[in-house]
């Protein structure tokens, strides 16, 4: 009888323990879910660094063959020039002030629009019409927009001046380059500028380290994965300089371009037959290192904008 009571008491203790463990797991899961709903401070303080890279500089890319794509197809381009950094928010704000003054862009409610002459529509499955007309360049009141409009002029949120211009649609990127008689680089041009003459997967070589580029969870000074996540870094940040305690690796491409891997996806200029999607290259602060390989493509509708998409121009 006593042993039976002992067994029963042991069982009761065990089930008590199990019930407690159940409760512990349930509470843990509930707390995790509650933490998931925490609001994000999109204006959290941003460290300010001078990268000493001039975004008005252009790189000369010679005519000739290079290895294109994952399978190293040999392709050719003519000679061209391409910006060594992404277009910055400061550059874009200057453009908007000039473009608004001469009617190149207009306000349309909560967004800024500009004229695009349209694409030929072929009626291919999933293709959507891009007709001539005004299309969104940038949204104005989105909390992630770092270019601010006070009703008369555009300014940049302090601290973001030398960061890449984001929250800009393909039309907005196309419009910026076109305003200065430049253009968006084609995919061929973009990849050649990032890769040089050999078969490297990254602008600086064969492998990637956290100090090479701004990518998801790369532990750079701008990210906090417990709250707002990854943020853009100033253009040309990964140039071998030390910023406080943070030592970067020199990560320019063979032609001297910065941020050709990570930081922000970059719109390219090709308009392909039978589809309205526009292609982006380079990976971003929000993608894993595999997406930073030079041949990796992303695409979206030309009206798409995001805190992780920017551009640079070619001429």
């Amino acid at each position: 009888m006593r042993s039976l009571l002992n067994i029963m008491s042991l069982r009761a203790k065990r089930s008590n323990l199990l019930a407690r463990w159940d409760c512990f797991v349930a509470v843990l899961l509930a707390m995790t879910m509650l933490a998931s709903c925490a609001p994000v401070d999109l204006n959290a303080p941003m460290p300010v660094f001078d990268t000493r890279i001039d975004p008005d500089t252009w790189a000369q890319i010679p005519a000739g063959e290079f290895h294109f794509g994952q399978h190293e197809d040999v392709e050719t381009t003519d000679a061209y020039e391409i910006m060594i950094t992404d277009v910055t928010t400061a550059q874009y704000a200057d453009f908007l002030n000039a473009a608004l003054a001469d009617g190149y862009v207009q306000l349309d409610g909560e967004q800024l629009v500009g004229f695009y002459p349209g694409d030929e529509f072929r009626g291919v499955k999933h293709e959507e019409k891009i007709e001539a007309g005004d299309w969104i360049f940038i949204p104005l009141n989105d909390p992630s927009q770092r270019v601010k409009f006070n009703g008369t002029s555009f300014t940049v949120q302090p601290g973001y001046e030398n960061h890449p211009m984001t929250m800009v649609s393909w039309f907005g990127a196309w419009g910026y380059c076109g305003y200065y008689d430049w253009r968006l680089p084609t995919e061929l041009e973009w990849e050649k500028a990032g890769r040089g003459a050999d078969e490297r997967p990254f602008p600086w070589g064969d492998e990637i380290a956290r100090e090479n580029a701004n990518f998801y969870s790369s532990r750079d000074p701008f990210e906090d994965m417990s709250s707002f996540g990854s943020r853009t870094s100033p253009v040309g940040f990964y140039n071998g300089q030390k910023y406080g305690d943070y030592q970067t690796l020199a990560s320019a491409s063979p032609y001297g371009l910065y941020d050709m891997a990570g930081n922000v996806w970059q719109w390219t200029g090709d308009v392909y037959d039978g589809m309205h999607y526009r292609f982006m290259r380079g990976g971003s602060k929000d993608t894993y290192d595999m997406d930073l390989r030079l041949w990796v493509r992303n695409n979206a509708t030309p009206t798409y904008y995001s805190p992780g998409v920017g551009f640079r121009c070619a001429r």
Partner: protein, 491 residues
């Protein structure tokens, strides 16, 4: 020597031993190679694993590595299904021995040398052996088709409880046969482009070309191959679970013709993507998928009804609560069909929702977002198949009482937490912006890692227990050596 011989004989000459080896191999590969991506890479575990195991991997070859990894795991799962078929159905001893032996050598060769080639330097002899392993599995598949031949009168049935034709053709066996034959044919849809693309010299992942309006025939073939192979693995596990639970009666008679029809039409649709039928291939696939899913639903209705009837047999007028308790009292027999139902929320439902709102919602997002949905939903589907195998495995190794309850319910709860979180992660752009997503992403990642991590811990506990058991002279393995799955089918 005798010690090793008897254990070897159990592990490689009995159905349960073979299944144990394959599950252990999948568990090891999943645990080790799962540490190379996602949160494990973020936490720096990836670098530690690479150094500790002496891996030699370069960024440029990621796609090729992943394809070999998928195939290595998938071949072990296919082998487990084949062992189960051989253990459950009437198969002539010669075929049973031959198929089991060939597929075992095949998947082990595929896995060991494939992974050796992909992750530990490029020894081309290893690549050759990897291809040889896949070829052996193909050959085992052909032999299995011959072994299953349902028109052989030995396999005819007369029992009115089971679906059969007037002449006695066993429709369940025919469904197994149809699935096996179409699996073998569908394997070619991967093998041919694999050879065309130079044994992987020009690899690509299907999710990366999904939006290109024009794809080559070989690209379509690869896309069709990966979809249909996973679908066929799902159909086969549904048939296996039906046989284990002794699916019979009216629902069985309705389900089996649907299963045969669905399998054939589904395959015709997928094969159609490399023909001029490509524009309507999706429609044929939907037409084929519907009867297959209906057949699975019939299995669910029948099995839940059976569980409730058995659990309330001693109660004159069972209440709803009593019926519910009866349904849930055995998680190992409830689990497989529950997971099939749950699949509708994580895979089929998502797929249908995406198809219906593709241009309005999903194709407005960048391709990389669409890729998350695509890869997410087929990872979940694969993992659901794995959990269903684990339910059956728990039953076949004789788990009883509290251990059975804990094992079964932990699989259900942990996997469903993970799968639901993956689904929320895939769909997050519907309810949160990119800029504000990080806390939600963190929460979902914790839930996914918790669910999958604990599931792997549970699996590790079972595997360690089985390993210890092997060192016992009269361990559980001695009983399993002689018991065949067909003897343990629920009556």
């Amino acid at each position: 020597m005798q010690f090793i011989k008897t254990r070897f004989n159990y592990l490689f000459n009995s159905t349960k031993g073979l299944i144990l080896v394959a599950i252990a191999m999948v568990a090891v590969v999943t645990a080790v190679f799962g540490m190379l991506s996602g949160p494990m890479a973020e936490m720096g575990v990836r670098e530690v694993v690479i150094k500790a195991l002496g891996m030699d991997i370069v960024q440029a070859e990621r796609e090729g590595r992943i394809i070999i990894l998928y195939h290595s795991i998938a071949m072990a799962i296919v082998a487990i299904e084949v062992y189960m078929i051989n253990g459950l159905l009437k198969i002539k001893p010669f075929f049973k021995t031959a198929v089991n032996a060939i597929i075992t050598v095949g998947y082990l060769t595929t896995m060991i040398f494939g992974m050796g080639f992909a992750y530990f330097g490029h020894n081309w002899a290893f690549h050759g052996l990897y291809i040889f392993g896949l070829s052996l599995i193909f050959f085992a598949g052909v032999l299995l088709c011959i072994a299953l031949w349902p028109w052989n009168k030995e396999y005819h049935v007369t029992d009115k409880d089971y679906a059969h034709t007037k002449s006695g053709l066993d429709l369940e066996r025919t469904a197994f046969f149809a699935t096996a034959v179409t699996t073998v044919i569908s394997a070619l849809f991967g093998a041919v482009p694999g050879s065309f693309f130079g044994n992987g010299f020009e690899v690509f992942l299907a999710e990366n070309i999904i939006r290109l309006p024009e794809k080559t025939t070989m690209e379509y073939s690869v896309i069709g191959h990966l979809h249909i192979m996973l679908a066929l693995i799902c159909i086969m596990i549904t048939l296996i679970i039906g046989r284990w639970l002794n699916f019979k009666g009216g629902w069985h008679k309705a389900a089996m013709p649907l299963m045969i029809l669905g399998t054939i039409v589904l395959n015709l649709g997928v094969w159609g993507v490399v023909t001029p039928l490509e524009p309507i291939a999706h429609m044929i696939i939907y037409v084929g998928a519907t009867p297959s899913m209906l057949a699975a639903l019939f299995l669910l209705i029948w099995s839940w009804g059976k569980l409730i009837r058995e659990g309330t047999a001693n109660i004159a007028r069972p209440t709803f609560g009593q019926k519910l308790r009866a349904l849930l009292r055995d998680p190992l027999r409830f689990g497989p069909t529950w997971q099939m139902l749950f699949m509708n929320f994580t895979t089929s439902g998502i797929g249908i929702f995406m198809a219906v709102r593709l241009d309005e919602i999903f194709r407005v997002w960048p391709a990389r977002e669409e890729r998350i949905e695509l890869t997410g939903h087929w990872h979940v589907l694969s993992a659901i198949v794995a959990t269903i195998i684990l339910f059956y495995y728990g039953d076949m190794i004789g788990l009883k009482g509290r251990v059975r309850q804990w094992y079964g319910w932990l699989i259900i709860v942990l996997s469903d937490i993970a799968f639901a979180s993956v689904t929320a992660f895939e769909m997050k752009r519907l309810f949160i912006t990119e800029a504000e997503q990080q806390p939600l992403v963190n929460g979902l990642m914790y839930a996914i890692d918790f669910g999958l991590g604990m599931l792997l811990v549970l699996l590790a506990v079972v595997m360690v227990w089985r390993l210890i058991d092997l060192f016992k002279n009269k361990g559980r393995w001695t009983e399993e050596q002689t018991h065949e799955l067909a003897q343990e089918v629920n009556q």
